[in-house]
């Protein structure tokens, strides 16, 4: 509409008043350095916040807040906007009182159970790696049909950070774990829920699983597990146990509440899949996306995110006609193992209706499925692991909305 594009046009024949008269910030002295010893975003960014989806959970302590993907750039999620999922609320734990214990379900599985302080853990060989974390229930609201309006609510249980920590394998080695017998790891948190999940020893042995204390250059945020969380690259977020206080090696999986009652995927035949962990390749266009309105016809950079729990993203294709024809998008590098990958593609909107989709392919050759393909196997009540191709419909007014293409 004309009202929306007014600021784009010159306001008088002479030119734009914002140019002809110098603005206040160009004609005055600003604020000193360290005015904010720890900085915050601009006051004009206050609309991008993590938000709950009304009606999703009954209590805030066992709920989700979604990251505002519709306004984020690149692959690093600002830590202040990292999605949250707690089961018994979050605490700001005193690191000087926090301990990490490593023990065995049986004494025969390791040489000695040990206790580590933060002082000690932070002396060990550290690694820093960029990884995505996605809740297994991300996009879960949409298994049956379109349910929520924006990418914040469809895909916002997704974040990506640079994590720093100690590969868990070093700790298990230090305790003399018998890897032949101990094929499972129980990770336990220090919050009220003492969240527990079984982690496959294969992933620990690969060196990828980390006991992390750093996130995006600083310590983990309290909401994300300060001072320690497990990082299990490629695996759903619930396994990335926050406020990590104990690691037990065992010879059987543990069937904890969040792998025996939740985070189990209901199939059409009434069976539930247990220990479903890996997040398969997925992608979503974030700009433009549901609940947004394009200001004008013409050129647009269409931008989105792709990721895979099985490794690197190899290719992302974008369709503007609901999946009939596809074009390969540019990937912003470097493309990393089990990390978000930002893709961009040029587009000129001619003002006619369009349906935008993105389709990720990972290094195993796996291609993100359509809703039709996925529902054929998994039905519509799976709750978890919905990685179907997302569609955004654009109508003449420029309004973008959430639709599902089969």
């Amino acid at each position: 509409g004309a009202a929306l594009t007014a600021p784009l046009a010159a306001r008088a024949s002479e030119g734009d008043a914002n140019i002809l008269q110098n603005p206040a910030w160009t004609t005055s002295l600003g604020q000193p350095v360290a005015a904010r010893p720890y900085g915050m975003p601009s006051q004009y960014e206050s609309q991008l916040l993590r938000r709950e989806s009304p009606g999703l959970a009954r209590v805030g302590g066992a709920s989700v807040s979604f990251a505002p993907l519709q306004g984020l750039f690149g692959i690093i999620t600002p830590s202040g906007l990292h999605f949250e999922r707690h089961h018994q609320g979050w605490h700001d734990i005193d690191p000087s009182k926090h301990r990490l214990m490593v023990n065995g379900s049986d004494d025969s599985l390791l040489k000695k159970a040990k206790v580590y302080t933060l002082d000690e853990l932070m002396r060990l060989p550290s690694a820093s790696r960029i990884h995505f974390i996605e809740c297994g229930a991300n996009t879960g609201l949409e298994w049956g049909n379109v349910a929520v309006p924006t990418v914040q609510y469809t895909h916002g249980m997704l974040s990506c950070s640079e994590f720093t920590g100690v590969p868990l394998k070093y700790l298990l080695d230090d305790c003399g774990v018998d890897y032949k017998k101990a094929r499972y790891v129980l990770a336990e948190g220090a919050d009220g829920s003492s969240m527990t999940r079984t982690i496959p020893m294969e992933m620990v042995e690969s060196g990828e699983v980390m006991v992390a204390y750093g996130q995006n250059g600083e310590m983990l945020r309290p909401e994300n597990g300060y001072p320690l969380r497990l990082v299990v690259p490629g695996v759903q977020g619930v396994s990335w146990v926050k406020w990590l206080r104990r690691i037990e090696v065992g010879d059987q999986p543990y069937a904890t509440k969040d792998e025996a009652v939740h985070y189990i995927d209901l199939l059409p035949n009434g069976l539930h899949r247990q220990y479903s962990s890996v997040q398969e390749a997925k992608s979503v266009i974030t700009t433009p996306s549901g609940g947004q309105t394009l200001l004008d016809h013409g050129f647009y950079n269409v931008s989105g995110l792709a990721w895979s729990g099985r490794g690197k993203i190899k290719q992302v294709d974008v369709s503007f006609d609901g999946g009939i024809n596809w074009q390969t998008a540019r990937l912003e590098g470097p493309i990393q193992n089990k990390a978000l990958t930002r893709f961009n593609i040029n587009w000129v909107w001619d003002g006619k209706p369009a349906i935008l989709q993105s389709r990720a392919m990972d290094e195993t050759g796996y291609v993100q499925p359509t809703y039709g393909q996925l529902r054929k196997v998994r039905g519509t009540k799976s709750i978890y692991h919905n990685n179907a191709i997302q569609s955004w419909k654009i109508i003449e007014s420029g309004e973008v909305s959430n639709v599902q293409v089969l």
């Binding site: 209590v59 060989p125 309006p149 009652v261 189990i264 539930h272 899949r273 947004q292 999946g323 009939i324």
Partner: protein, 237 residues
């Protein structure tokens, strides 16, 4: 490096005992103790009912704990409502296949505002009451570390789990693992041109859902390539 000199120390037996409270499906970790349905009812009413309802049926704070299971399910070990679609909602006992899970979770996390406040006997009693509510044990039942394995054999959904899928890494079940070795469910192709005849829309956003998440215009920047769509108020389309 063969050792991290000066880092970490052995855990004492008392320390391991204090923290190693997990209970596995094979009941490793289960504390000794027992509790009756009656004791459990009293405890449940005092400590649990405010959130979960007197009969574990409440939907107020969380999905119901009990309900939705039948005598027949107890025989088959498969909750029929899960496949028939007749189940109004999936309660805890319609899903759980391992009774250890419920014991372990109550012991570590409940009551929600006072986790780890229950003694083993109390957990046994509360669980006995929940089993009675689920019609798995009679009103005079006393649950204990001795007979919990028997109860496991009655769990309505005990045969309801499968690990035959590609989302657990490592070897497939036939080679000692528990998954299918990583084989995914779908095999989409990266078709590029004329991939289908027509676009079949399966679902669009219902009008109530468009406005149920607040004013979308206020959930986007007020500058940039797009604006949040105005969904509420007089200016809304």
């Amino acid at each position: 490096f063969d050792n991290f000199k000066g880092v970490g120390r052995p855990a004492t037996p008392a320390e391991v005992k204090a923290w190693d409270i997990d209970v596995r499906p094979d009941f490793k970790g289960l504390p000794k103790g027992s509790g009756s349905v009656d004791q459990g009812q009293e405890l449940f009413e005092a400590k649990c009912a405010s959130c979960h309802g007197t009969f574990g049926e409440s939907n107020e704070v969380f999905t119901p704990l009990v309900g939705g299971t039948t005598k027949d399910d107890m025989k088959t070990g498969r909750v029929k409502g899960l496949s028939s679609g007749e189940l109004p909602q999936r309660t805890t006992f319609t899903k759980v296949a391992t009774i250890s899970t419920v014991f372990d979770y109550i012991q570590r996390a409940m009551p929600w505002t006072a986790p780890k406040s229950l003694k083993p006997d109390e957990v046994y009693a509360i669980l006995a009451y929940m089993l009675n509510l689920s019609e798995m044990v009679p009103a005079d039942f006393v649950l204990s570390d001795k007979n919990i394995a028997e109860v496991q054999k009655l769990l309505p959904n005990r045969n309801g789990m499968t690990t035959d899928h590609g989302m657990w890494p490592g070897a497939p079940a036939k080679k000692g693992g528990i998954g299918n070795g990583g084989v995914p469910d779908t095999a989409n192709k990266a078709c590029m041109k004329n991939c289908k005849q027509e676009v079949q829309i399966g679902s669009t956003l219902p009008e109530y859902a468009r406005t149920a998440h607040g004013e979308l215009a206020e959930q986007n920047r007020s500058f940039g390539p797009v604006r949040g769509t105005r969904t509420l108020g007089p200016e809304a389309a």
